[in-house]
C-alpha cells in the first residue's frame, strides 16, 4: 500500500432520497480517502448507507452533493461516453449475485469489458489465461455459467472485474451468495491479488470473516463514518483482526457511547 498516493477522494458526500417530508438522508457528508493498493472494507448495519456509498462511487447513483475524485477527476459529472469509459476501464465491479451473462461462456464474460472498448477477445487471450490461472478457473473458461459452481461463478466475475486493469475494484457483498468454503477461497484470491499486484479494492460487506482480509475498515452508521479499524498486515494475523472487528460490530449494536 502506498500511503503517498490517494487513488480516490470522497469529499462531503451526501445522498438524499425523496422530497419534502419524505426526504431520507442516506449519506450525510462522508469524507475519506482511499490509498493506492489498499484493501478497504466498508461495514455497517442494513440501511446505514454503505451500499449507497458504493453505488455513488460506481456511478450507479448520482450524489446529491459532494465530490468523488478518482485520480484527480471528479466522476460525479460524468455522462455518456465518458461515463461508459469510466465504468469499463477505471473501475471493476464485483456484484453480490455475480451478474454473469448466462448466455456467454466464462471466457466471453471475462473478455466483455475489453470488447466493449474495442479490444478483441483474441488479443486479450493471454491476460484472460493469466487471470484464470490466478483465480483457479482455467478449466471452466469455455463453460457457460449454468455449468459452474457458485464459487467458480464469483471467481469468473472477479476475473471480469480485473481484466481491464482498473484503478479500483468495487465489490458489493462478494461473499453474500457463497458458502463459507467458497467465501474463503474468494477472499484468499482477492487478498493475494491485492497483495501481489497492489490492486486497490473497496469492499462492502456484512461478513466479519470477509472483512478480516482487509487492511482498513470504515464502519458506517446512519449515513456517517462512525469508526475506523486498521490492520498491520505484517504484525496482525487475520484471526486477530477478525476478533477486533467482532468487538466493534458488537459495540455498534449498542450505540456510539460504547466505541468512542
Amino acid at each position: 500500500m502506498n500511503m503517498q498516493n490517494q487513488i480516490l477522494q470522497v469529499e462531503s458526500l451526501t445522498k438524499t432520497y425523496g422530497k419534502g417530508q419524505n426526504k431520507t438522508e442516506a449519506l450525510k457528508g462522508i469524507t475519506f480517502d482511499v490509498w493506492e493498493g489498499e484493501f478497504l472494507g466498508i461495514m455497517g448495519a442494513s440501511g446505514s448507507g454503505k451500499t449507497t456509498l458504493l453505488n455513488c462511487i460506481a456511478t450507479m447513483l448520482k450524489p446529491t452533493s459532494g465530490k468523488i475524485i478518482l485520480r484527480g477527476q471528479d466522476i460525479s459529472g460524468f455522462h455518456g461516453r465518458k461515463l461508459a469509459d469510466y465504468r469499463g476501464n477505471e473501475i471493476g465491479y464485483l456484484f453480490q449475485e455475480f451478474e454473469l451473462l448466462d448466455n456467454l461462456t466464462a471466457r466471453e464474460n471475462i473478455a466483455l469489458p475489453l470488447c466493449l472498448h474495442g479490444v478483441t477477445a483474441g488479443k486479450a487471450k493471454a491476460d484472460i489465461e493469466t487471470l484464470a490461472d490466478l483465480l483457479d478457473i482455467a478449466d471452466v473458461l469455455d463453460k457457460f455459467p449454468s455449468q459452474m459452481s457458485g464459487g467458480q461463478k464469483q471467481r469468473v466475475a472477479a476475473a471480469r472485474a480485473l481484466i481491464s486493469d482498473p484503478d479500483i475494484v468495487l465489490a458489493d457483498e462478494p461473499t453474500g451468495a457463497l458458502d463459507s468454503k467458497n467465501s474463503k477461497t474468494l477472499m484468499n484470491k482477492l487478498s493475494a491479488i491485492n497483495g501481489e499486484q497492489n490492486k486497490t479494492i473497496m469492499m462492502v460487506t456484512h461478513d466479519a470473516n470477509a472483512a478480516s482480509y482487509c487492511s482498513r475498515i470504515l464502519f458506517i452508521q446512519d449515513g456517517c463514518i462512525f469508526h475506523e479499524l486498521r490492520r498491520n498486515r505484517q504484525t496482525e494475523s487475520i484471526e486477530a483482526f477478525y476478533d477486533r472487528i467482532v468487538v466493534v460490530m458488537a459495540q455498534l449494536g449498542g450505540g456510539s457511547a460504547n466505541v468512542l
Binding site: T59, R81, A84, F95, E99, D102, T120, A121
Partner: protein, 676 residues
C-alpha cells in the same frame, strides 16, 4: 374499488403496450372479415345466380372460422402472455399483500373482458371499413365494374366475432392463470424462467442441421420434379420432408451458430459476441416457435401468391358479349326496341354457328382432313391426348366472330379465301390452349373438300355465346360463303347482344344486365346472360382469391406476432443482462444497436428459410397443379408477384422496425431507473 382497479389496469395495459393491443384488434378484424363474406356485394349477387356454389362456400366458412380461431388463439395467447410476464412483480406484490389467488385471477379475467370490450369497440369499425374496401375491390377485380354498392353490416358476423374473440381471450387467460397458479410467490419477483444456455453437443446439432437441409432439398426436389401428376404419396412425402426438415433445421441452427461464434469471437470487439450469443440463445430456446413461424410465413406467401394468380387468371377472361338470345327475330326485336332497353343496347347481331353438314364427316366424329394438324401436334410435347381426341364438328361464320372482336375493341380476323382459324372455348383447360397454339404456329392446314386451307397461326378463344357453360372443343372459323356451304343449319344460332358502355358505367354492369334480364324474362324469351354465365367463374374468383389471401394474411400476421412477441418476452426475461452491460461500461447507443441487430437477425433467420421454401413452393404450384390461363402473360404474373413481394418486404421492414423500437425503448429505460 375492485372494478376501478380492473379498469385502470386494463387502460394501463393498452397504453403501455401497443403491440399487445394491436394484436387484439387484428384478431377482431380477422374474424369479422371472414364472417361477413356472405354480406358482401359480390357474394350477395352470386347467391342469386349460383346459390348452390355459394351455399357450399358458406358451408365451408365455419371450417375456415375454426381454423382461424385456432391460429388467432396463438396470436392472442402470446400477446396476453407477454402482457402477463411484464406484470409478474405486480402480481407477486398483490399476493404478498394478502390478495387471494382466486381474486387475482378474477381480476385478470375482468381485465380481459374489459380489454375485449374496448378492443371490439375499436376493432369492429376498423373491420367494417376494411370489409367495405374489400367488397368494392373484389367486385372490381372480378371485372364487374362499379356495381350498385350497398353498405353491408352483418349482425351474425358481429355476433360470432364477439363470441370467437372473447372465447379466445378467456381461454388464453385461463391457460396463463393456470401457469401463474403453479408459480411460487417468490418466483413472481424474479424475471421469469430463462432457459439457461447449455453447451449443445456440436455433433448432434450439426447432424440435425445437415438432416434438415437435406430433407428440405428433398422436399424441393419432390415438389419441382416429381409432383407432375399430383400423386398422393409424393405429396405426403413432400409435406413430411418439408415440415420435418424445417424443424430439424432450426433445431440444429443453434449449435451451428455456436460453432460459428466460437470461431469468430476472438477477432471481434464491442457487443458482437453478446449480440451473437443472444440470437443463438433465442434460436436454441425457441427453435420450435421459429420453425412454426417459418412454416406459417411459407404458407402465407404461398396462399397470397396463389390467391393473386387465381384472381388475375379468372378476371382475365374478358367480357365479349352480354346476352345470347334464342327465338324468333321479331320477338327479340320487340324487346330490344322497347323504350328503356333500346338506349342500353350497343349492338345486336346474329351468331352463325352450326354443326358441319353430314357430307363432310369422314367418320362418325371427324369432319375434315386433320392429318396435317395432327402432324404438327405430334412435334409438341404432351400432345398425345389431344391428337387422340382431335375432332372438329362445328363451323363459325367469320363475320359473326369479327363482330364479337369489334365489340371487344379487338382487331378483326380478315381471313383470306384459302384460310381458316381454329376456335376453342376451353383454351384455359390445362395445357390444351398452349399445346394447340404451339402446333398451329407451324404453318399447318386443314383439308375441306380435298382443298387444304391454311390455319391462321393464332388461336381464337373469345366467347361466342354468353353462357360459359356451353363449351366448344374445337371449331373452324371460315369465310361466310364457305360457312353457308358447310353448315348443317345455315340460319342464325342465336342473337348476341352487347350493352352500351354508357349504361354499364352509369348503372354498373350488374344492374344494367339485371334490367335487360327482367325485360327478356317478361317476354318469355329464352336467353343466357354474361353475368349468369360467369356466375360460377366469378364464384371461383371470389372464393379462391378471397379465402386464400385471407388465410395468407392471417398466417402472416400470426407468424410476425409470434416472432416479435417471443423476442420481446425473452428480452424482458433477460433484462438484467442489459443492466450488467451498462455497469461494465457499455453505452446506451451501442446496447440499443445490439438489440436492433438481434431483432434483425432473428427475423431474417425465420424469413430466409420461409422465402427460399416459398420460391420452391410457388414454382411447384405453377408447374404442377395450377396452370396460368393462356390469356395471362407470365410477365404480368411476375410483375404482380414482384409487387406483392415488395409489399411483403416493406411490411416486414415496417413490422421489424416497430419491434425494434419497442425493444430499444424498453432497454433504454434501464439506465434511467438505475440512475434515478
Amino acid at each position: 374499488m375492485f372494478f376501478k382497479q380492473v379498469r385502470r389496469n386494463a387502460a394501463k395495459n393498452r397504453k403501455g403496450n401497443g403491440l399487445f393491443f394491436g394484436s387484439l384488434v387484428i384478431a377482431i378484424v380477422a374474424f369479422y372479415t371472414l364472417l361477413s363474406l356472405g354480406a358482401q356485394d359480390v357474394m350477395r349477387y352470386l347467391a342469386t345466380v349460383e346459390s348452390d356454389a355459394v351455399g357450399k362456400l358458406m358451408g365451408l366458412l365455419p371450417v375456415v372460422y375454426a381454423v382461424s380461431l385456432f391460429f388467432v388463439f396463438f396470436l392472442v395467447y402470446f400477446a396476453c402472455k407477454y402482457q402477463a410476464d411484464s406484470r409478474r412483480r405486480e402480481f407477486g406484490l398483490y399476493l404478498m399483500l394478502g390478495m387471494k389467488r382466486n381474486r387475482l385471477f378474477s381480476m385478470l379475467f375482468f381485465e380481459t373482458l374489459w380489454s375485449s370490450g374496448v378492443s371490439l369497440l375499436i376493432g369492429l369499425p376498423v373491420a367494417l371499413f376494411l370489409t367495405e374496401g374489400i367488397s368494392l375491390t373484389t367486385a372490381k377485380m372480378a371485372g364487374l365494374g362499379i356495381i350498385g354498392h350497398h353498405f353491408s353490416l352483418s349482425y351474425d358476423a358481429i355476433l360470432w366475432t364477439v363470441c370467437g374473440f372473447v372465447l379466445v381471450q378467456l381461454l388464453s387467460m385461463l391457460i396463463i392463470c393456470m401457469r401463474l397458479g403453479k408459480t411460487e410467490t417468490a418466483e413472481f419477483f424474479g424475471s421469469g424462467d430463462v432457459k439457461r444456455q447449455a453447451s449443445i453437443s456440436g455433433a448432434k446439432s450439426t447432424a440435425c442441421f445437415v438432416a434438415g437441409v437435406g430433407l428440405l432439398l428433398t422436399a424441393y426436389y419432390l415438389g419441382m420434379f416429381r409432383l407432375g401428376a399430383l400423386q398422393m404419396e409424393v405429396m405426403l412425402a413432400l409435406i413430411v420432408c418439408g415440415i420435418l426438415g424445417t424443424f430439424l433445421l432450426y433445431r440444429g441452427l443453434g449449435g451451428f451458430l455456436g460453432l460459428y461464434i466460437r470461431r469468430k469471437s476472438p477477432d471481434t470487439a464491442g457487443l458482437w459476441n453478446f449480440t451473437a450469443r443472444q440470437v443463438q440463445e433465442n434460436v436454441i430456446s425457441q427453435h420450435k416457435s421459429l420453425a412454426v413461424s417459418s412454416l406459417l410465413l411459407l404458407m402465407a406467401l404461398a396462399c397470397i401468391s396463389y390467391g393473386i394468380s387465381m384472381g388475375i387468371g379468372r378476371s382475365a377472361s374478358s367480357r365479349s358479349l352480354d346476352f345470347s338470345v334464342f327465338g324468333a327475330e321479331e320477338q327479340i326485336d320487340a324487346v330490344l326496341e322497347k323504350d328503356g332497353v333500346r338506349q342500353m343496347v350497343k349492338d345486336s347481331y346474329p351468331l352463325y354457328l352450326s354443326v358441319v353438314g353430314d357430307g363432310y364427316f369422314r367418320d362418325e366424329e371427324k369432319a375434315f382432313d386433320t392429318a396435317k394438324l395432327e402432324e404438327a401436334l405430334r412435334t409438341v410435347e404432351g400432345s398425345e391426348n389431344i391428337i387422340e381426341n382431335l375432332h372438329i364438328e362445328y363451323v363459325i361464320a367469320e363475320s359473326s366472330y369479327n363482330r364479337i372482336l369489334k365489340n371487344m375493341g379487338k382487331e378483326e380476323l380478315k381471313l383470306a379465301d384459302d384460310e381458316t382459324a381454329i376456335y376453342t372455348s376451353i383454351a384455359n383447360d390445362g395445357d390444351f390452349g398452349t399445346i394447340l397454339t404451339k402446333a398451329i404456329r407451324q404453318k399447318t392446314s386443314v383439308g375441306i373438300d380435298d382443298v387444304q386451307y391454311r390455319v391462321r397461326p393464332a388461336l381464337c378463344m373469345d366467347n361466342v355465346v354468353a353462357d360459359r357453360a356451353i363449351t366448344l372443343y374445337m371449331a373452324l372459323i371460315v369465310p361466310d360463303e364457305l360457312f353457308a356451304r358447310l353448315a348443317r343449319e345455315p340460319g342464325a344460332y342465336c342473337r348476341n347482344v352487347n350493352l352500351s358502355d354508357e349504361a354499364v358505367d352509369e348503372m354498373g354492369l350488374m344492374q344494367a344486365v339485371q334490367k335487360v334480364d327482367a325485360q327478356l324474362a317478361a317476354a318469355g324469351i329464352e336467353y343466357d346472360s354474361y353475368l349468369s354465365g360467369i356466375g360460377r367463374n366469378l364464384f371461383y374468383t371470389v372464393a379462391a382469391s378471397y379465402l386464400t389471401i385471407y388465410l395468407g394474411i392471417l398466417f402472416w400476421l400470426i407468424a410476425n406476432t409470434v416472432i416479435g412477441l417471443k423476442y420481446l418476452i425473452s428480452q424482458r426475461q433477460t433484462k438484467h443482462r442489459y443492466e450488467t452491460l451498462t455497469m461494465l461500461g457499455a453505452d446506451m447507443p451501442s446496447i440499443c444497436r445490439s438489440v436492433r441487430k438481434q431483432i434483425g437477425i432473428y427475423f431474417v433467420l425465420v424469413l430466409a428459410s420461409a422465402l427460399v421454401s416459398s420460391f420452391a413452393a410457388i414454382f411447384t404450384m405453377f408447374t404442377s397443379f395450377t396452370k396460368l390461363p393462356v390469356g395471362v402473360s407470365v410477365s404480368t404474373v411476375i410483375i404482380l408477384s414482384a409487387a406483392a413481394l415488395f409489399v411483403f418486404c416493406a411490411v416486414e421492414v415496417l413490422y421489424i422496425g416497430i419491434v425494434k423500437r419497442a425493444a430499444s425503448r424498453e432497454v433504454s429505460q434501464i439506465e434511467i431507473t438505475r440512475r434515478r
